[in-house]
Symmetry: C2
Subunit: 103 residues, 2 copies
Amino acid sequence: MDAVFRALADPTRRQLLDNLHARNGQTLNALCAEMDMTRQAVTKHLAILEEANLVTTLRKGREKQHYLNPVPINEIAERWIGKFERHRLDALSDLKKRLERED
Amino acid sequence: MDAVFRALADPTRRQLLDNLHARNGQTLNALCAEMDMTRQAVTKHLAILEEANLVTTLRKGREKQHYLNPVPINEIAERWIGKFERHRLDALSDLKKRLERED
DNA sequence: TTAATATGCAACCATTTGGTTGCATGTCAA
DNA sequence: TTGACATGCAACCAAATGGTTGCATATTAA
C-alpha cells in the first residue's frame, strides 16, 4: 500500500496512468512519445508503477505492453471514506458535474 | 489536485489522516502525542495536509482543531476508475473482506 | 548474418523532502 | 500582571528523488 502512494506522488507517473486509462496496453516507446523526457526516465517511472501494482506488463517479443490496474486506487478511497459517506460524495460529485455542464 | 497526491505520499501524513478518521477535531498537541517526532515536524505535515484541503482547521482560543475532509480522496478514485467499474471493484472488495473474516 | 529496433542496467548530479534546534507570539489562569 | 501552555516561524542538514548520459542485451527483418 505504501508503494501505491509513493507511485502516485509524481505528476509524470499520474500522466502515464492517464495515458493508459485513455489507451490501455501501450508499449514503452509509445508511452515515451507523449512524454518530454528520456526513455530511461520513463522506464524508471513505469518500474515504480509496476512495483505498486498499478501497472501490469506483458512481454510480446521485443515489445512490452503496459496495462492499468485500478484495484489499488479503489483501496485508497476505502481507507478514509466510509461506505455510506462515499455514496453521498459520489452523488455530490455527480451533481456538481451536471451543474457545470449547464453553463 | 497536485497537492493532494503530494500530501498523501508521506506515511506520517497518512497516519495523521488515520488518527483524524478515528477521532475528528483533534488539537495539534493531541495529534503530536501519537507521533514519534517533534511538534514542529508535525506542524509542517499538517500544513501540507491543509494546503491539499485534506484537513480543515478551526481555531478555538489558543487551540487549533483539525478535521478530515474526504472530498479530495473521492476525486482520486473518480480519476482512473469508471463509475460502473467502481461498483464492481467495491463488490469484489466486499467479498474479499467477508471471505477473510470467515478464517 | 547483420543492421535496426525495443528494452534493460548503472553511475552520476541537482533539487526536494522530512527532520532537527532555537526563538517568537498569543492566550488562558492565578 | 505574570507564568504556563499552545502554536508559529526560520535556519539548517542528511537522505531520497527525478532526471541525465553511456553502454549492454535481445528480438525482428532484410
